[in-house]
C-alpha cells in the first residue's frame, strides 16, 4: 500500500505533461480555451473595460446604431438599447453574469451529481435503484419545462434560474460518475482498501473519485455550456434574470420588439451567448479527446 502511493507520486508529473502535449495539439480545444479566457478577462475587468455604466440611461441616445454605422455615436461603440444604455458596456457586464452562472450551475450540479453518482455506483443494489429512478424521473421531463416549473415555484430571478438549471443538469453527472464508479468498484485496489477496513466514504472520495476524473472534467466543461445556454433561455422567457440586469438572455428578449428597426440589439447578445457556449463545447471536446483513452485512436 505504502509503496503504491509513493509510486503514484513519482509518476505525478508525467500524466499532466502528457495531457498538455495531447491537449495543445488539439487546435479546437485551444481556440475554445482562448474564447473562454477572453470572456473571463471581460468578466474580471468589466468595470475597467466598459466605457459606461451598464445601467446608466444616456440622455437623448435611444437605440443608437453601432458607431461604425451611419447615425452612430463614437462614444457608444455598439450603440445603445431601447432605454438608452450603452450596449457594449452591458455586453461586457453580461460576461460576468454568464461566467458566474456557468460556474454556479456546474458547482451545484456537479457536487450533488457526483455524490449521488458515487453512491449509486459504489453501493449498488437498492441505493442504486432508488437514485436511478430519481434520475429517470428527472429525465422523463423535458428539461426546459422542468426548469420552468422549478423557477415558477421559486419565483423568477437569476439565482432561482441557476438552481433550476442545476437540478436539470444533475442526471448527466450522476450517470457519468455512476458508470465509472461501477467499473472502478470491481478493481483490485478498491477491493484491497476494503479489506484494510477503509470507510465507504473514504473509498468513494479518495479512491474511486480520482479515477472518475477524466469523464467528469469533460462533463464539467460541457456543463458550463449547457448551464449558460439554459439560464439564458430562461432569461429569454422572462423567468431568469430580471431587468435591468445586463444578462444576455433578457437583453435578447427586450430587443425582440425592435427586431425589424434595430436588428443589432438582437444580434449582439446572441453572438456573445454563442461564442461562450462554443468555447466551452470546444474545450470539452478537446478534453474528451485527450483525457478519454477509449476515444484515442
Amino acid at each position: 500500500m505504502q509503496s503504491n502511493i509513493e509510486e503514484n507520486k513519482s509518476d505525478y508529473e508525467h500524466p499532466l505533461r502528457d495531457f498538455w502535449v495531447g491537449f495543445s495539439a488539439n487546435k479546437g480545444a485551444l481556440i475554445g480555451l482562448a474564447f473562454i479566457l477572453f470572456f473571463v478577462f471581460l468578466a474580471v475587468f468589466a468595470p475597467l473595460l466598459s466605457p459606461h455604466s451598464p445601467s446608466e440611461l444616456q440622455e437623448n441616445a435611444l437605440r443608437l446604431p453601432p458607431s461604425f454605422y451611419e447615425g452612430g455615436n463614437a462614444s457608444f461603440f455598439f450603440g445603445t438599447d431601447d432605454v438608452g444604455r450603452d450596449l457594449l458596456s452591458r455586453l461586457i457586464y453580461g460576461a460576468r453574469i454568464s461566467m458566474g452562472v456557468g460556474f454556479l450551475v456546474v458547482f451545484l450540479s456537479a457536487s450533488v451529481g457526483t455524490l449521488l453518482g458515487l453512491m449509486a455506483g459504489y453501493f449498488g443494489g437498492k441505493v442504486d435503484w432508488l437514485i436511478m429512478r430519481f434520475v429517470d424521473i428527472l429525465m422523463a421531463f423535458p428539461s426546459i419545462l422542468l426548469a420552468i416549473v422549478v423557477v415558477s415555484v421559486m419565483g423568477p430571478g437569476l439565482f432561482n434560474a441557476i438552481v433550476a438549471v442545476a437540478i436539470v443538469a444533475c442526471p448527466s453527472f450522476i450517470r457519468i460518475v455512476r458508470a465509472s464508479a461501477m467499473e472502478e468498484r470491481k478493481k483490485q485496489y478498491v477491493m484491497a482498501s476494503k479489506t484494510f477496513g477503509a470507510s465507504s466514504f473514504r473509498i468513494m472520495f479518495s479512491e474511486i473519485l480520482p479515477n472518475c476524473m477524466a469523464p467528469l472534467i469533460v462533463q464539467i466543461s460541457l456543463g458550463f455550456s449547457d448551464g449558460i445556454l439554459n439560464v439564458a433561455a430562461l432569461g429569454f422567457l422572462g423567468l431568469g434574470a430580471q431587468a435591468p440586469t445586463p444578462e444576455w438572455g433578457i437583453m435578447l428578449a427586450d430587443a425582440r420588439a425592435f427586431i425589424s428597426s434595430d436588428p443589432w440589439l438582437v444580434t449582439l447578445p446572441g453572438l456573445c451567448i454563442l461564442f461562450v457556449v462554443l468555447g466551452f463545447n470546444l474545450l470539452g471536446d478537446g478534453l474528451r479527446d485527450t483525457l478519454d483513452p477509449r476515444l484515442k485512436k
Partner: protein, 338 residues
C-alpha cells in the same frame, strides 16, 4: 431478452408514479391561487371565490385530489382545464399534431443534411473539409435556438421577405382537420380540388424557418455521430476484407459501411425524438407555432393544474416509452448491451 424487457417495464411503474407525483405536487407549490388568478380584480368577493373553488373541485383535500387524478388518468381521463373547461386530452390532441409535424420536419431536415455531411467528413478524414465541418457542427451544437430563430426571421422574413413571419399556414386557406398534419391535410382531394397545391406550398413555407431553427442542434449531433460511427465501421475487418477483395471503394462505403453505421445513428434519432418537446417550447414561442410547448408554458403561468399534471404525465410517458423502445431495439441488435 424477455426478462430484460420485463424488468425495464416493471421499472417504468415507479418512474411514472414519481413523474405523476412530481407533476401533481410541484405545480401546486407554485405560489398563486388559480382561482384568484382567474377572477383577477373581480375576485374580491369571498362568496364568489369560494363558489368558484368548489366548482373547480379545488376545495377537496389534496391527497384525495391526487388519488382521483391517478385513478382517472389510468382510465385515460386527465380531467378538464381550469381555464378553458375543455378535456385536457382533447386540448392535447388538438395541439400535438402541430408539434409533431414541426418536430418531424426538423429531424428530417437534420437527417437530410447531417448524415451526408457526416459521411463526407468521414471519407475525407483530417482534410480541411473535415475540420471545417466538425468546427461548424460545434457551432451548430452551441446555438442558442431562441436567438437563431430570431436571426432567421430577421434575414428571411423581415429582410428578404421570403418566408412568412409566423403561424402554420396562410389563414385564408381553410384546411379541414383530418390528421392535424397540415402537410397531409392540404393534400386531401377536396382541398386539391378547391385550391390546388397552393395551401400545401403555404404550409411548407411556414415550416421552413422553424424547422431550421429547431433542427440545427440535431443536425450538428447527427453529423458528428455519423462521422464517428462511419470511422468506426470503416476500421472493421469486413470492410478491410471487402477492400482487399477489390470492390469499388464507394460501393463498400455506401453499402457495407453505411448500413452498419446507421444503427447507432437511428438510435440517436430515436432519442432525439424524446427531446422534441424541449426544442418545441422555445421554437414555438418564437414562431407563434400553435403546439404543445407554448400551451404548457401558458398553462404554468395560469396555474392550470390539470393541464400541467396531465400534459407532463403524457409527455413523460411518451419519452419513457420511446427510450425503452430505443433501448429494446438496440438490445436486439447488440446483445452485449444486456
Amino acid at each position: 431478452m424477455l426478462n430484460f424487457l420485463l424488468k425495464r417495464l416493471i421499472d417504468l411503474v415507479p418512474t411514472l408514479l414519481g413523474v405523476s407525483l412530481l407533476a401533481f405536487f410541484v405545480i401546486r407549490l407554485v405560489p398563486g391561487d388559480p382561482v384568484m388568478l382567474m377572477l383577477g380584480e373581480r375576485g374580491a368577493d369571498p362568496k364568489v371565490y369560494q363558489e368558484m373553488k368548489r366548482e373547480l373541485g379545488l376545495d377537496k383535500p389534496i391527497l384525495s385530489q391526487y388519488q382521483s387524478f391517478l385513478i382517472n388518468s389510468f382510465r385515460g381521463d386527465l380531467g378538464r382545464s381550469l381555464v378553458s373547461k375543455r378535456k385536457v386530452t382533447e386540448e392535447f390532441f388538438g395541439r400535438f399534431p402541430a408539434t409533431l409535424e414541426l418536430g418531424l420536419c426538423a429531424l428530417f431536415f437534420a437527417a437530410l443534411i447531417g448524415i451526408p455531411l457526416g459521411i463526407l467528413a468521414a471519407l475525407k478524414r483530417n482534410s480541411f473539409f473535415d475540420y471545417f465541418l466538425m468546427g461548424g457542427s460545434l457551432v451548430g451544437y452551441s446555438m442558442p435556438i431562441f436567438w437563431w430563430g430570431l436571426i432567421l426571421i430577421i434575414i428571411f422574413s423581415v429582410g428578404l421577405g421570403l418566408t412568412p413571419v409566423s403561424g402554420r399556414i396562410d389563414v385564408l386557406y381553410d384546411v379541414p382537420t383530418i390528421t392535424g398534419f397540415y402537410l397531409v391535410d392540404t393534400l386531401s382531394p377536396e382541398v386539391l380540388a378547391e385550391e390546388g397545391l397552393a395551401p400545401f406550398i403555404s404550409a411548407i413555407s411556414h415550416l421552413i424557418l422553424p424547422s431550421i431553427a429547431m433542427g440545427t442542434i440535431p443536425l450538428a449531433v447527427l453529423a458528428r455521430m455519423t462521422r464517428s460511427s462511419m470511422l468506426e465501421v470503416m476500421g472493421e475487418d469486413y470492410i478491410r476484407t471487402a477492400k482487399a477483395k477489390g470492390l469499388p471503394y464507394k460501393k463498400i462505403v455506401l453499402i457495407h459501411g453505411l448500413r452498419n453505421a446507421l444503427i447507432p445513428i437511428i438510435t440517436v434519432l430515436g432519442l432525439m425524438f424524446g427531446s422534441i418537446i424541449t426544442g418545441a417550447i422555445l421554437t414555438e414561442t418564437i414562431f407563434s407555432w400553435p403546439g404543445i410547448g407554448k400551451w404548457l408554458v401558458a398553462s404554468i403561468n395560469a396555474r392550470d393544474y390539470p393541464v400541467i399534471q396531465g400534459g407532463v404525465l403524457f409527455i413523460a410517458t411518451m419519452v419513457v416509452l420511446i427510450n425503452l423502445a430505443v433501448d429494446f431495439v438496440y438490445a436486439v441488435i447488440n446483445p452485449k448491451m444486456r
